[in-house]
Symmetry: C2
Subunit: 474 residues, 2 copies
């Protein structure tokens, strides 16, 4: 493989730093059975759902408290060894790979829901709580947490990557839904970045700085989130279209008219087929919008009428309703499993996922040519999109043993990102930068802005210990 | 006045740095009539709407372009002289005072609306555009910009203080509504912090870092904002209550039930009297909620029914409707002028404004005792609140010549802030920290978090040139 090909990204440029035995001994002494250097454990912590080859850490600590976290960070800092926070491992851009070696700090056992303030629509959790666990915990209050990236991700990880997913079109992303964090800094100090107040102008927005910082500026140890009243009425439907353009243009018009749709998801016909086979469904294998409407009964009725009328102007077939909660769950589970349905459609493959997001009017321009290019290139792919936000994912399903396929997939990805940037969009709607998009970030933000990020990193983590080698080159 | 009294805050600790004649000559040569050292101009730029005594800059430059801004910043940097960005001067916490001397960089002439993308619900403006000017400019598109701090503030200033105001309960604050910024850094470099995409996970959230940074991290030269479709139906009403507690408890219940109310504003009876006299109205001089409802006709009807039923449970009188757009404008103009109505109620006074924001369930606990304390202290005050957000302002109307009144007012303010912090709230909902709340910020965020802010400031502005001496002591 030529040194200058984009596919180089998929072999992490690992330059591990020495991890002194004295540190491993100190961690072993402090953490006992919470500490492991077993290869299987290390390998499980040196990968994520991306197509990158594994880069295991030197050791793993299973933290059970904020104090555990501060002790790991302080010991690692003493020996100038990297620390990589780890939730459930569902990130997609190589965030968790220990490219410079170091200690994987697994927070999945920090999984307590600490305070439910139903009267304020807030909740405080530890970072290892997953989104499904949270929704179970608050169910009896009549409230819910809407952010839903598909995977049952940890809320710490969702903060770290600024996750969003299917409900973001109505409820926003982690950016809008985190009120405050407790964070352990690079020197092992514990800080709080905000309060439970709904808004604040009290100094720099450290909460938003930490959200999306991918573990590079601090280790998140507590999270205060907004909750929402469960909608009085929920209706979900699918609608098939003759062409992708029709489905996309329907979406554009729904958003431009300000319909407060709760979910608006696109699958192309090819992906519907994968989902059908994986989830034993029989959806028509043509472009499909999956939609959900939340609100009062009257408001939901209004939304549905507006959207039906828009869809019919774009040759949409009649709505297929998911009438019961069970039907709805089946529909959304199938959607959430699209990634796995895609990967299973080609045994042994890995997915290289794209993640551009564009202003809504540019969605057709951003999406349709990418599909055409993928078809011409002949690489199998899936296509799903949180299209109400202008965000979609092509998942190129490559044979990991074929350098040629990696090259082709990354060339497609590069073209797709360049197009999105030219249309006023971003290279990453929700997955983050990780290892995979460092060059894309530079194209998007420019040297000056990336240098500003680097200066912040340098100021908060002068020895480059927290998840080093991610977001930008240091 | 004793050195340790809180009222010391109101005499800025001015320690001007030397401004070399060579810099003034260079600015004069570069900017000609855009440059002024006239005392009247400098004094006008060394104050805001706060009770602080004026601290004029050494000179004022009226920038007309981003290039003008970079040239001012670069020249000032060369001579290590402070630069203080200035919009329309409506901030409330001493943000604009040149406490270390320097150059006031007035961007009010950078007042062009650059790009209206109605099809994407976004707009890009220069920082001197005011919110009313923006809404005039986009009126024909059927869209509007909701953030409304009362004053016809510049959008650059609103970004800098993370402003919100009456519509924030439904539409969020500047934090949620700024998509991207162009910023001139401390070294005079131009960066862009984001794109027009609705969401992004591409690196650190520099947009949110700049929003609320009060001119201390960069000079904002372009702003891309979200717009919203004008609601199909709008209804506004006032409702009088027998007691403040009833009005506050009505608000709490409205929010807890998830009613998407667009405005929910409180005035106490005393303030209604001031507003009546200032705006020639005849509202009943008892605690009053001013409310506005946006949505489809059916949704507005539902909201109104719910709120009426809640209000009547709390002894609310019947709704007085503002039926025409003109009536609504009159009502909200009166509300917006409450600050001036308050100040005019005591000729020659200055207002010391509080700005706490608490979780909604704590609003009564936060507010009622403060009113009681102010009544006992005998200082005249006004009370207005964006109570739907848990945010309210006491405006203590002090005689600027009376050190004793300043002391009493600041003691009341301190108690009020301590109470809000104890209840899980913030010292500043929307006005920012400026000079006035540096100690409150420290109490709220703690040394560690403020040190992190300081480290960021040091990294991005190593010579402390951008609006120095604000937010925290350097």
């Amino acid at each position: 493989m030529n040194a200058s090909t984009p596919a180089d990204h998929l072999v992490p440029q690992a330059t591990p730093r020495a991890v002194p035995q004295a540190l491993l001994d100190a961690l072993q002494a402090r953490f006992g059975v919470q500490f492991s250097t077993a290869l299987a454990v290390r390998e499980q912590h040196g990968r994520d759902e991306s197509a990158f080859t594994v880069a295991p850490p030197d050791a793993v600590v299973f933290a059970e408290s904020t104090e555990d976290v501060t002790d790991v960070v302080k010991l690692a800092a003493q020996f100038k060894v990297p620390v990589i926070p780890f939730g459930v491992g569902s990130s997609l851009e190589g965030h968790l790979l220990a490219v410079q070696g170091g200690i994987s700090l697994d927070v999945s056992r920090m999984n307590r829901v600490l305070q439910i303030h139903a009267e304020d629509l807030t909740v405080t959790v530890q970072p290892g709580v997953t989104r499904k666990q949270l929704n179970e915990a608050v169910k009896s209050t009549g409230l819910f947490f809407p952010i839903d990236p598909g995977a049952d991700a940890s809320l710490g990880g969702m903060c770290a990557t600024r996750a969003s997913g299917t409900n973001a079109v109505r409820y926003g992303t982690m950016r809008e839904n985190v009120l405050a964090l407790e964070v352990v800094t690079a020197s092992g100090e514990i800080i709080r970045t905000g309060t439970r107040a709904k808004k604040s102008s009290a100094g720099y927005d450290l909460t938003r700085l930490m959200v999306g910082s991918e573990g590079t500026l601090g280790v998140i140890t507590e999270i205060t989130l907004k909750l929402y009243p469960l909608p009085e009425a929920v209706m979900a439907a699918s609608c098939s279209f003759s062409s992708l353009a029709d489905a996309v243009n329907t979406t554009i018009q729904i958003i431009q008219l300000g319909v407060p749709i709760a979910r608006c998801e696109l699958l192309d016909g090819n992906t519907v087929g994968m989902v059908n086979r994986h989830s034993k469904l029989s959806l028509p294998e043509t472009p499909l919008l999956l939609m959900e409407f939340h609100g009062s009964p009257a408001s939901v009725k209004e939304q549905v009428q507006t959207v039906q009328s828009i869809a019919s102007e774009h040759d949409g077939k009649s709505f297929e309703w998911a009438l019961t909660p069970e039907d709805r769950t089946r529909l959304w589970t199938a959607r959430h499993n699209a990634y796995f349905a895609g990967v299973q459609s080609r045994p042994g493959c890995r997915a290289i996922s794209t993640d551009t997001c564009v202003p809504i009017s540019q969605l057709a321009n951003a999406l349709l040519d990418c599909v055409e290019e993928a078809n011409v290139a002949g690489i199998p792919y899936f296509l799903v999109g949180h299209v109400g936000d202008g965000n979609f994912h092509m998942g190129y399903l490559i044979d990991p043993e074929s350098p040629q396929e990696r090259v082709v997939a990354e060339e497609l990805n590069t073209k797709l990102v360049q197009r999105a940037l030219a249309l006023g969009g971003t290279c990453s709607g929700e997955h983050g930068v990780g290892l995979h998009k460092m060059d894309f970030l530079l194209s998007e933000a420019g040297t000056g802005a990336v240098d500003m990020m680097r200066a912040i990193k340098q100021a908060l983590d002068p020895h480059n210990l927290l998840n080093p080698g991610k977001i930008f080159r240091q």
